[in-house]
Every structure is written in C-alpha cells, then in structure tokens.
C-alpha cells in the first residue's frame, strides 16, 4: 500500500485485540487497539485515512452507544461492527446508525479485510472531499466583496452586459472582476466556475 492507513480496534477481549492487530498489521495497516471506547476517545488520532472496528458488546457502554458517542464528538470514521452473538434487531440498529458492515465472530479474514478496505476507501474519499472544500473556502476568502457579489450572477449564466446593468457598473469593470474571480478560484473554464459556485452556495452560511 502506497499511502499509510490506520485501523483502530475497540474490543474488551485482549486476545481478540491481539489477533486482530496481527491480522491487520500483516496487511500493512497501522493498527491501534483499545479495550474501551473511552480509551479510544482519549487517544490523539493520526491524520490518516482510517477505519474503526468495534465489538457491539463492550463492557460499560455498548457498541451502539459508543457509535452515538462518536457522533457527538464529531468523529466521522467508518465503523465495522463485530459481535460474538449477533441478532437481527441489533444488526439492523447498527446498520441504521451508519455502520458499514456487521460481522459475526468468528468471521472469515477476507470479509473483515474487505470491510476495512471499503471503510478506508470511504474515509479517503471523505477526507479528499473535505480537503478540496477547505481549499475552495480559502480561495473564496481571498475574493473582494464585489467579486463575491458578481460570482453568483456569472454562475447563473448572465452576460457581462446584463451584470453591468443590474449592478450599475460598466461592462469593462465587470469583465475585469470576472477575470479576477476566475484567477482567484483557479477555475479552468466557465463550467468549472459554475461547479465551484454551486459547492460554495451549498455550504450556505458557512461561507
């Protein structure tokens, strides 16, 4: 694997933790194991594409409660649930709460590794998305108020002349602003610009 990836395992059985650590490490993942959900929350996570494996039955809080705890802490890691005695209602609850997989112990190693792989891919996509968004926001922040005013008008397909009339500016000024906007957002084409404007608008008041 070219890029480093991390897998976090939460299970209250040390021997299960050790075996999972070994299996996942053999696939080149960086593995961190935790005997409780609390220990995981206290841990400073490395900034890597990662996936979380959780036993549904944890001492103290159950795996499902732990999942809600993660949400409260704004942790968006994909979760793979494992369990010694799964029943249908429990697995349904887990999947509804956003788990990507629910595996019964003992499971086939390939099933777990596939689930972890999918989880990491999902995390990678999410991270890339988040990075792009952050970059876009930085570029947007560099624009002047006038440019921010003109951007949605350009994106909605108005001609320079129309924009000039509606904002009471000269057509030449609008043209200059437009070139500035293209440059600041690093848009390669009008279509590119429209897409960016859409995403910025989608963030609403966060912008």
């Amino acid at each position: 694997m070219s890029e480093q990836t991390a897998v976090f395992v939460v299970d209250d059985d040390p021997s299960v933790l050790a075996s999972l650590e070994s299996l996942l490490a053999s696939e080149g993942h960086m593995v961190r194991t935790f005997e409780s959900g609390r220990a995981f929350l206290d841990f400073a996570r490395p900034d890597l594409p990662a996936c979380l494996i959780v036993d549904v039955r944890l001492r103290g809080a159950s795996g499902l409660e732990f999942q809600r705890e993660l949400e409260r802490h704004g942790i968006q890691l994909p979760v793979v649930f494992i369990t010694g005695h799964g029943d249908v209602p429990m697995s349904v609850a887990a999947m509804k709460a956003g788990a990507i997989e629910f595996l019964l112990k003992p499971f086939r190693d390939q099933d777990l590794l596939d689930a972890v792989h999918n989880g990491i891919e999902q995390d990678r996509r999410r991270r890339a998305e988040a990075a792009q968004m952050a970059e876009l926001r930085r570029r947007y922040a560099a624009m002047t108020p006038r440019e921010r005013e003109i951007l949605p008008l350009v994106a909605s397909g108005l001609m320079n002349k129309q924009i000039a009339v509606s904002l009471n500016l000269s057509e030449v000024t609008v043209k200059v602003h437009r070139a500035q906007i293209m440059q600041k957002l690093k848009a390669r084409s009008l279509a590119d610009l429209v897409r960016m404007a859409d995403r910025l608008a989608g963030m609403g008041d966060k912008v």
Partner: protein, 528 residues
Amino acid sequence: MSAADERSLMSPPVTRGQMTIAIGVSLALVALFVATMPYARLATQHTEAILPAYAAAIAMLELMTAALLYGLFAVQRTRALLVLASGYLFSALLVPMWVLSFPGVFDALGLDLGLQVTAMVALLRRLGFPLFVLGYGLAPAGTVRGRFAGVAVAKCVLAVVAGVVAALGLVLAHREGLPLLMRDARNVAELWRYVPLAAFALYAMGLAVLLARRRGPLDIWVGLVLVSLAIELLLISYIGGAIRLSIGWWVGRLYGLAAASIVLLVLLSQTVSVYAGLARTLAAERRVRQNRLIAMEALSASIAHEINQPLASMITNADAARRWLGREEPRLDRAEDALRRIVEDGHRANKVVTGIRTMFLKGAQERVPLDLNRLVAEAVATASGEARFEDIPLLTRLAADLPPVIGNAVQLHRVLCNLIENAIDAIKAVGDHQREVTITTQTIDTGEVRLDIADTGTGVDPALAERIFDPFVSSKTGGMGMGLMFARAVVEAHGGRLWVSPRLPRGAVFHFVLPAAMVPPERERKEP
C-alpha cells in the same frame, strides 16, 4: 392446608371447622326432630303417591355416593373405602324392591308381593348398611396392591350385586313363609320391635368405632350419617308410633334423605377443592420447569459466548499467521506470535469447558452412602402430582437388599426426576392405551446397582438413541436437549453408565448402573 398437601378424606387431620360443622348439623337434625314430636302420630292420607319419587331420590343419591367412593378408592386404594362404597351400593340396590312391594303404591300395576316382603327388604337395608359401616370403620389401614384398581372395584360390585340378587331371590321365593313383621299395611307386628333395637345397637357400635379411630374427615361425616339414620329410625319406629305414612314416619324419611346426601355432598365439595388444589400444584410445577428452561437458555447463551470468544481469536490468529508467512518476505516472528496466541486461546477455551463441567457437577465431591431405593421414592413423590393428573401410574419394583451407592443425593435426585419427567412426557405424547412408568432397582452380577425406568410412551428413535445424550439434542417440542446430557454427566461422574433401549412392544427403558459402596458406610464417612 396448603395446595401442595395431599388432601384426603381418609387422612388426618380432622379440622376444628369440620368438627364444628358436623356437630352443628347434628344439633339442627335433633332440633327438627324435637319440633316434630307433637305431631308425629298423625296419619296422612294418599301420601303413598310420593313414595316412588322419594325412593328414586334415595337410590340415586346412594348410587352416586357409591360411584364416587369407588372412584376415590381407585386413587387411594384403601380397603375401608371399598367397604363403604359397597355399603352404599348394597343399600341403593335394595330400594327398588322396597318401593315396588310397598303396599298401595303400585296397586294399579297389579303388583302385590305380600305384606312381609317390604318389611323384610327394609330390615335388610336397615341392618345391612350399618354392618358395612362397621366394616368400613374396622378395616385395616393397608392399601390394596395390584395394578388395576378397576379390577378390585369390579369384583366388589359383582359381589354386592350377586349378594343382593340372592337375598331378594330368597325373600321372594319364601314370601309366603316369611316371619310376621307387619300386622297390616300400616302397622307393624310384635316381631318388628327387635329390628330397631338391633339397628340402634349397630349404629352405636359404628359411631363408637368411627369416633374412636377418627382417621380423617370422612369418618366424621359417616358418623353423622349414622346419627341421621338413628333419628330416622327413632321417628319411624317410636315417635311415629311405628305407623307407616304418619307425620313422624315422613319426617323420618327426610332424615333418611339427609343421611343419603351427607357423604355425597362432602365428596363432591372435596372433589372440587382437591381438583383445584391439584391444578394449582400442577401449574406451579409447570412454572418451575419453565423457569428452569429459561435459565438453561440463558446459561447456554453465555456458554456459547464464552467459548466463541477464544474460538474467534484462534481463527483470526491463524489467518494472520498465514498472511505473515505468505508475504514476499515472510515474517516468522509475527507468525510465531500468532501461533503462540492460538495455543493460549486453546487453553482458555478448555478452561471454560472445564469450568462449566465443575459448575454443573458442583459439590460432586460431597459424596455419602445413599439408599437408591429411597432416592427413587423421593423422586416418585416429586413427580406424583403431574403423574396423577395425567393418570399415569408410577410403579416401583425395588430390590429389598440393595447395597448403598456412594454419591451426591441432590444430583442423583435431579437425574431421577429428569428421567421420570421424560417418561411422563413420552407417555403424554401418545394416545390412551396402556399408560405406566415402571421403576426397577436390582443388584447385578458385577455387584453394581442397576436402575431401570421403563415407560409406555413414544419410544426413542433408534437413529437418535445415542445422540439424545448429546447437548442440544431433543425429541421433545420445546426441549432444550440438556436434561439427558446432564443425567449422563452426573451418572458418569459417579463412576456409572447411562443408556437407553427400546421397550417392547412400545416405549423406552432408560438404564443406569452405579458401583455399589464397597466399604461399610460408617467407615467410609470417617475418611476425609
């Protein structure tokens, strides 16, 4: 009395309440008797017409009482009940002839059997019934052995019917030569005077015996019957002036009706309360069994989890080891780590299994010499409620000279109960042909003690015969498949064997063999 008590009319205690009711009823009867006295000798006209209805009522009451008493005998098997039931039957069978021959009742039919026949039949009833009551009072306490109570009942009924038929035959055959008991249709002859005296003597003797023995409430009620009969006789023969169909005579007849009803009413009310008690006991037993099943379910779920955990870990470790070895540069150290953990997990799983075994057989070390026959008797007593309710006799054939076995009483009791419950369940599942469980104990050639529990139930499918001792294998709907596994584990922990074979033509026999205690019990106990 609690619901678990075996409520029985034939066993003590006679409660204070029952005594009070009996005395109260007696006083009421006496009061009515006193109130009647001034009018007793007044004659009535045409009251013969009521006589057939009265006779029918008496006969029905006595027949029903007899039937219920025979039924009670089928359960309790005491000789006394058989005698009392026969007394009621005897009395009931004489009634038709009495009323048929009564002067002036069936004249329209042209029936005239002669003056003396009615009196003779009355004499037989009057003296016969207290004789049966005496027999009831004096009957030895023992129970009638043998498989079928029905046979004993049938024999008795046949004997009573034959006796009544023979007696009536004799009376009718010699009706011309009968002793002179009646002067005319309404008035008695000199000779009759001795009949009430003899009857009073028998009533007094009966009452004395019953009050002296007072084996149970039924004795008291039968005593009350005798008191009523005595009052009846007093009214009929003395207060009423021995004049048939006088006021005193009719009131006397009412006492006869009351006498005939007492035991029936008591039996009916007792039957209802016994049935209710039995139903409650049974419901409680079922709940206990249900709870045990639920506990077993929870236990097996937790055992499954305890074993599954190291199992999952072993599989993952093995997968990891394979992957470490399969890499381009195999990592022997990591593979070895994984293998070492597999060994640890294996030991851990084993510990769980051992733990379960010791938990099941907890206290298996606390072993003392035990009398297997006594354990059987206790287990039979435990299961008798349900067995009686299902009408399945639990029969035992216990060897008298059985050597003691060394073992844990609680565990072996559980095993025996388990096997008996299984036998009852197996019989419940089939129709109503022969239904019984037979438990046999014996010493076999090897010096071991052997016990067989044979049932007439569904039997064990030969294909399942060995597997039924495995955990989670059950042929019962709703069975957990733990009982026989537990039974075999216990028996084997006692150095014995447990197996099953078919019973011919139907059913199954479970056998187990336990080693007999070699050392005298006293010395065994002293050893640490």
